[in-house]
């Protein structure tokens, strides 16, 4: 019976792992993707395209370094364009991974075990994609390291009152913790792969990566402690990183930026887009690699519910922004609202409302919530919507601020697009490699979900 025709109660009861699996089958099924299953033509084509896009991005960045930031569409008054839009978008996407692996771990949401590994990988790659932008968007990228507080002969420190400075800390901490968390989670699985691989050099590589893991009780004890600690460290980051990113705007005085709702609204938006990205990746992966047993409809439905909830928070944010535009009586805020609805970027704003608020409401319908195809498309719409949101906040607010004489328009150039699409290529290329060389689903955590794992006293 195809999944979409299953009765809802059946789905409700769907376990997070399909019945009939044993330790052996779980291990076999996941590790086979890496060890025994040959890479398909599809993988090569997909990876090839994404690799080419990555090269395109490197070319665009190379040209940027030669010529200067002027090859982009940024100008006065719109000093920030695609680079910052994309940065915020990517950072937001990363949030779902951390939320799934850290917060849900602490909340003992065991269903997370089948999606946390690749969600973490997604976080890492998204942060890597995001991290490119702040470094290259400055006028003199070769001096971008001046944003780091390091002892230097100039005896000059960064300016700690600047939100960009806080960004440096927030994002670098986030990248570090995410990488550690992800790698730590992989250690027992590396050992599994080491043990199951047959080629000597493969054994050596996984052996080195597994740090000598033997699966002793002491190992497990220390491992669990460390993992919980890392989860504890990562948990506040889910809230803090995007809060700090939102300060880039909230601290500014530009109408459309200067608002206190931004931190919660940004965090909700981040998780919103993050889960959309998780679904966009999970749905094809489970189909292609036959992982429907591990990533079940329950996972999809839970993710959809999270999107619905965070989407409503985001909608509330829009509502408050609009309300404050009117209620504050501030002529600049009021005009910002008017300008979003009627100005030259009105089609973009209306699309944003459609993508982020109206279309996702169909998730109230259970049948759509449990349809992988529908979820895939709705997730795509949400990702576009969240990108538009950042575009509206960054570009549209800047385009018409206080002095009418200094209004302007922003026209992204081909270099803007090449860089943006290139980062998507890089992100997906990394995902392709990840699927091929690392266990996309946490083997040891999946095993804990099996009935055999239950300890009977």
């Amino acid at each position: 019976m195809p999944e979409q025709y299953k009765s809802t109660t059946e789905i409700q009861r769907t376990p997070v792992i399909a019945p009939g699996h044993t330790f052996g089958t779980v291990t076999e099924k996941i590790s086979a993707i890496v060890l025994t299953r040959p890479a398909s033509n599809g993988w090569f084509i997909g990876f090839g395209i994404c690799f080419m896009l990555t090269m395109m991005m490197l070319f665009a960045i190379g040209y940027l370094f030669v010529k200067g930031i002027g090859i982009w569409g940024v100008t006065i008054p719109i000093g920030w364009g695609f680079a910052i839009v994309n940065f915020v978008w990517w950072i937001g996407i990363g949030h779902a991974g951390t939320l799934i692996s850290a917060i849900l771990l602490l909340l003992r949401q065991s269903w997370r075990n089948s999606i946390n590994r690749f969600a973490e990988a997604m976080t890492l790659f998204a942060v890597a994609a995001a991290g490119i932008f702040p470094a290259i968007h400055v006028g003199r990228p070769w001096l971008a390291y001046w944003l780091f507080p390091y002892p230097n002969t100039m005896r000059v420190w960064p300016q700690f009152r600047s939100p960009l400075m806080w960004d440096v800390f927030a994002v670098s901490t986030y990248a570090t913790i995410s990488a550690l968390f992800w790698f730590a989670g992989l250690i027992p699985d590396f050992a599994t792969l080491r043990d199951r691989s047959e080629k000597r050099w493969v054994k050596m590589v996984y052996g080195m990566l597994s740090f000598g893991w033997r699966g002793s009780a002491r190992h497990w004890h220390r491992y669990e402690t460390m993992y919980l600690l890392l989860a504890g460290l990562a948990t506040p980051l889910v809230l803090s990183v995007h809060t700090v990113v939102s300060f880039d705007f909230a601290i500014g005085i530009v109408p459309g930026w200067h608002t206190t709702i931004f931190p919660p609204y940004f965090v909700a938006g981040a998780i919103y887009s993050g889960f959309a990205m998780v679904l966009m990746l999970a749905i094809p992966i489970r189909k292609i690699y036959g992982l429907e047993d591990f990533i079940t409809l329950r996972h999809l439905q839970n993710s959809a519910k999270v999107m619905l909830a965070t989407g409503l928070i985001v909608a509330y944010g829009y509502g408050i922004e609009a309300f404050m535009g009117w209620y504050s009586g501030d002529r600049y805020d009021a005009f910002t609202l008017w300008n979003r609805l009627h100005g030259p970027y009105a089609p973009w704003y209306l699309s944003l409302l459609a993508c982020n608020i109206f279309i996702p409401q169909v998730l109230w319908i259970r049948r759509l919530r449990t349809s992988p195809l529908a979820l895939f498309f709705i997730s795509g719409v949400i990702l576009i919507g969240m990108w538009l949101e950042r575009f509206i906040i960054v570009v549209v607010s800047l385009s018409r601020d206080f002095l009418n004489s200094s209004w302007g328009m922003y026209y992204p150039t081909r270099w803007d697009w090449m860089t943006y699409i290139g980062t998507i290529g890089m992100f997906l290329a990394a995902m392709f490699l990840f699927l091929r060389f690392l266990p996309a689903i946490s083997i040891f955590e999946m095993r804990t979900l099996l009935p055999e794992a239950e300890v009977k006293e």
Binding site: G139, P163, I253, S405
Partner: protein, 1019 residues
């Protein structure tokens, strides 16, 4: 084969002393070269750089003509158009194409004896003059170790009082322009001046026998006594020769009008300081180019101060929105052809006749106001209005008793006040009639700018004038059609003299030796009269020695040079009586249906002579804020009727001639009338000016040079991008709200409520950080800008650009909004779009005490000084552009690309050595001219030590914008000193902060605008 090559190489080595690169492409055939050299021995250039040149190798000639290696001149991508600055440097190095020249070993000897007054790091100032249309603009030029870097007004001169205009400011860039012609050129060959001399010697001596019957000299307007005297002397040697004068923006109508009224050409001079009521009939007397505008702006602006004396009242009746119209208390937009009848009505109404209708009411009120201010009013007419209007104005001024009080008549400043269009017509006829053997074009570019119906360029092309010599700053459209082009010196490199609008003579003295071995006009004319060796200095000095009576010549000469003018040369007012008011017979009502074409000088490139000046090209035109292009200006009403939008390309057709240009909807432009401006569509101007805009001269005829009727307009359906630097020209936002950016009231309301512009002060304790106590510092710098005085002349923008080494970015970058001006002048229109009120607002950095830019910079590259300056540390800036985003005034400018030219030798010399040249990726903005502050601080501190007492910087410290402002609208100084002028201004009731509600506490504040409307017209 290898041997051959070696031989050739050796030959070249021997011939050129080893400074030619033997790797040059294309081998020479030894024998062929010998033959060519033999042949060339008689005709070839006297000096040559390589055998190829000597032999007249066509490849070499082509290379010479191209100036650049293949490909270099064909750069068409967007960056390279801006990149003209970058390739400029190539012209010197590559012009000769020799490439591998060995640098000579030179021994550089330091000063053995230090020249007097030359202190490295200290600028010196010399008085000289800049001329436009013959009228001298007295200037002081800042010189750093022999390099002129900045033009400033001569504050002691009657015509300047410290102010300048945009053309004088920009002249420094023209002087250093690497596109200027750098040698004598004959038929595309670079030649020596000696070759020119030998070429012209024969024709000149041949003419001697004919008494010069075949010689014609065509000059631009000349006010120089020395040069005029020289030409007259030359005409004595060649009595049959003729002197023609032509300049496209001429004052024919003014002179003809004066002849109608007085029977002789006279100059009209005004005293706006005594005028209570001014009626302008299409006269843009508050903008650069109007003779005496610098002084007039000062006098006019003083009378706009509602706090001092009685405010004047300006009525502007105009055909094209102008800066003068923007300042008017009442403005009536009418087509130019109607102004004649309005002038007549004004004359009639002054006699008591009543009028009806809106226009009639306007005229009647103006007339009544004039009558009530007999002897203290002025009627002033634009130079493009027909002579009859000028004559009417003269009679009107006479009947109002203004003559001798506010209006004065003097001898013309023009040394040869002929009707220039007639003069050119006569010349064309003579050439067509084969009467001209030797045509000497002394300055000007008639092949480009002569009236189209005279076909001047074709006349030159047909070769009837046998020998044609062009003398000028650039190789241009005219020099192309002449056998010889002699490169001219710039005024900053040569000796000369010229008269200011009041007749006062200024000696033009060189600030630097000619960059390109050029000849000055006086030297050139002296050569024609056989004094080939005389230097400009000798000639000018000799002329004034003759004029000067008394033995103290040396003292007189030095004083004149030092002061910048010659005492006693000012023209004295003449007692003239205007003939009785005769309504001119040619007064025919304009055909109401025929569309009118107004051809006007361009506000920035003038008649095209400044086309290659990047500063002027990028200077926003005062009303439209357009750069780099001329547009077809139409009014909003007409645009609505014809469904035209800005940037639509239209075709204009007049008498069978067609041109295409892009529409610009200009608020306040009258209906059924089109304005085009001259000076664009140059075919050969240089790397900056060639090909910008469209050529309006095509529609200009000798019979209707300014106002033509019956133009057809047709939409082509194409779109042409116009680069305007202003986002929106209204203070009303599209949601129907109004932003009080420029605050304005009427004089009556101001008297009732002087503090109308003030807003509730934001309490100071709103921040978590403790407030810095600037009051405890010795200095706290601040600025006040009086919007009432500002006439939107744009001079401050160029003064700032020159002082602070601000880059030119080109049209493409301006379109994107990346122009670099640290100071801009916003123009806003309010009310009825067809007849709006217009406002100007200069916006420099506000130097906010709570600067939003400072807190957001992650590296601290912009921070506050203890004296309240918002400093920019270029070296520290990494270019996040966060500061610009957070600046509510958007005064920060970013180097998105490498906008500055780091290579061209000439431009390196031009720069102010006290200001850093910014590189790519760095934010920059107004610094309040911090280099000047520090210079004065050093002076004050040394003086304190020397005198043994505390000496503080006083009001003598001025920023570049404040210093050059002819209206004195910008005042800068120490706000900690209650007696400083800026403190007094800031204490005025109408002082307000722009966006003060944001609690930025800006140090730059504005004095609100007060207008003085006629109560009769208010209702």
């Amino acid at each position: 084969m290898a041997n051959d090559e070696k031989n050739n190489g050796e030959l070249i080595q021997i011939a050129k002393g080893g400074d030619v690169c033997p790797s040059k492409k294309g081998k020479l055939d030894l024998n062929a070269v010998r033959a060519e050299i033999d042949k060339a021995a008689t005709t070839g250039p006297e000096y040559w750089r390589s055998l190829e040149e000597l032999a007249g190798n066509p490849e070499f000639q082509a290379a010479l003509k191209r100036e650049f290696p293949k490909g270099a001149s064909e750069w068409v991508d967007t960056v390279s158009r801006r990149g003209f600055l970058k390739v400029m440097g190539a012209s010197l190095g590559l012009a000769g194409m020799t490439g591998c020249v060995k640098l000579p070993n030179e021994v550089i000897v330091p000063y053995v004896r230090q020249p007097e007054n030359v202190i490295p790091g200290r600028a010196m100032y010399y008085a000289t003059a800049h001329t436009l249309n013959g009228y001298a603009n007295p200037i002081l030029v800042e010189s750093h170790l022999g390099r002129p870097t900045k033009v400033e007004g001569n504050d002691k001169h009657y015509a300047s009082l410290g102010g300048t205009d945009i053309f004088a400011q920009a002249s420094i860039l023209t002087m250093y322009d690497p596109d200027r012609s750098q040698s004598v050129v004959s038929l595309g060959d670079q030649r020596s001046y000696a070759a020119f001399l030998s070429a012209i010697r024969g024709p000149l001596s041949a003419q001697k026998a004919l008494q010069g019957a075949g010689i014609r000299i065509l000059t631009t307007t000349i006010s120089s006594p020395t040069l005029a005297d020289q030409i007259r002397n030359l005409l004595k040697v060649y009595p049959q020769a003729k002197w023609h004068v032509y300049e496209p923006v001429n004052r024919d109508n003014v002179l003809e009008g004066a002849k109608m009224a007085f029977g002789q050409p006279v100059e009209t001079r005004y005293d706006f300081s005594k005028a209570d009521v001014v009626v302008s009939l299409d006269a843009d007397f508050l903008y650069a180019g109007w003779p005496g505008n610098v002084r007039y702006i000062r006098d006019f602006a003083l009378r706009r101060d509602p706090d001092i004396g009685q405010m004047n009242r300006l009525y502007a009746i105009e055909s094209t929105p102008s800066a003068t119209g923007a300042k008017a208390d009442h403005r009536l937009p009418v087509p130019a052809s109607k102004i004649q009848s309005i002038a007549a009505e004004l004359a009639n109404a002054s006699g008591g006749n009543s009028q009806t209708g809106e226009e009639g009411k306007f005229v009647a009120s103006a007339a009544r106001d004039l009558q009530q201010h007999r002897g203290s009013s002025i009627v002033i007419v634009g130079e493009h209005q027909p002579p009859a209007v000028h004559a009417l104005a003269h009679t009107l001024n006479a009947s109002l008793g203004n003559i001798g009080k506010t209006v004065f008549y003097t001898d013309p400043v023009d040394a040869n006040p002929v009707n220039q269009i007639e003069s050119l017509k006569e010349l064309v006829n003579d050439i067509q009639g084969g009467k001209v053997d030797l045509l000497i074009i002394l300055g000007g570019n008639p092949a480009y700018d002569a009236p189209a119906d005279l076909h001047f360029a074709d006349t030159l092309k047909n070769g009837k004038a046998q020998l044609r010599v062009h003398y000028g700053l650039y190789e241009d459209e005219t020099s192309e059609l002449c056998q010889w082009h002699v490169n001219a010196t710039h005024e900053l490199e040569s000796w000369g003299d010229a008269r200011a609008f009041d007749g006062t003579v200024s000696i033009i003295q060189p600030l630097i030796a000619p960059l390109y071995n050029a000849k000055s006009p006086v030297e050139f004319v002296a050569m024609l009269s056989g004094q080939g060796d005389a230097t400009g200095y000798e000639l000018v000095r000799a002329y004034w020695q003759k004029q000067h009576v008394g033995a103290d010549f040396e003292q007189f000469w030095r004083k004149s040079l030092h002061d910048g003018w010659i005492d006693g040369t000012t023209f004295q007012p003449k007692a003239l009586s205007a003939k009785a008011a005769t309504t001119p017979s040619d007064l025919k009502p304009a055909d109401a249906n025929a569309m009118e074409l107004n051809i006007r000088r361009d506000p920035t490139v003038w008649d095209g002579q400044f086309s290659n000046n990047g500063w002027l090209q990028e200077l926003p035109k005062p009303m439209s804020k357009l750069t780099w292009d001329n547009a077809v200006q139409v009014g909003p009403k007409m645009a609505g009727r014809l469904h035209l939008a800005s940037k639509d390309v239209v075709e204009l057709e007049l008498n069978g001639k067609k041109i295409q240009g892009a529409v610009w909807i200009q608020a306040g432009h009258p209906d059924n009338s089109i304005t085009v401006t001259l000076g664009y569509g140059r075919k050969r101007a240089g790397r900056v000016g060639t090909g910008q805009g469209y050529d309006a001269y095509q529609l200009r005829t000798s019979t209707a040079p300014w106002i033509a009727s019956g133009v057809q307009i047709r939409k082509t359906g194409e779109i042409y991008e116009l680069a305007s630097t202003q986002g929106m020209q209204s203070m009303d936002t599209p949601d129907g709200e109004h932003r009080p950016l420029v605050r304005e009231t009427s004089l009556d309301d101001y008297k009732k409520e002087p503090g109308f512009a003030k807003e509730e002060e934001v309490p100071q304790g709103l921040t978590l950080y403790p407030r810095y106590e600037y009051e405890k510092e010795q200095y706290a710098w601040g600025m006040a800008i009086d919007l009432n005085r500002c006439t939107g002349c744009n001079n401050c923008i160029l003064a700032c650009q020159s002082e602070n080494n601000i880059a030119v970015v080109g049209k493409e970058q301006t379109l994107l909004g990346r122009h670099m001006h640290w100071l801009r002048v916003d123009a806003y229109y309010q009310g009825d779009r067809d007849n709006p009120k217009a406002f100007f607002q200069p916006v420099p950095c506000m130097h906010c005490e709570n600067a939003p830019c400072e807190v957001v910079c992650p590296v601290g590259a912009t921070s506050h000084s203890s004296e309240g300056l918002n400093d920019m540390i270029y070296n520290r800036c990494v270019g996040t552009r966060y500061c610009s985003n957070n600046c509510p005034y958007k005064v920060r400018r970013f180097n998105f690309l490498l906008f500055q030219d780091w290579d061209t030798a000439q431009l390196k010399m031009m720069r102010n050595p006290d200001v850093s040249v910014r590189s790519r990726g760095v934010m920059e903005k107004c610094t309040y001219c911090v280099q000047r502050i520090n210079e004065h601080r050093i002076d004050a501190e040394t003086a304190s030590v020397r005198e043994g007492k505390e000496i503080a910087i006083g009001d003598e410290l001025q920023t570049a914008c404040a210093q050059s402002c002819p209206a004195e609208a910008i005042i800068f100084g120490n706000i900690n000193n209650p007696n400083s002028k800026v403190s007094q201004w800031k204490a005025k009731a109408r002082n307000y902060s722009l966006l003060g509600e944001l609690n930025t506490r800006p140090r730059t504040t504005y004095l609100a605008e007060v207008r003085n409307p006629n109560p009769e017209l208010e209702s």
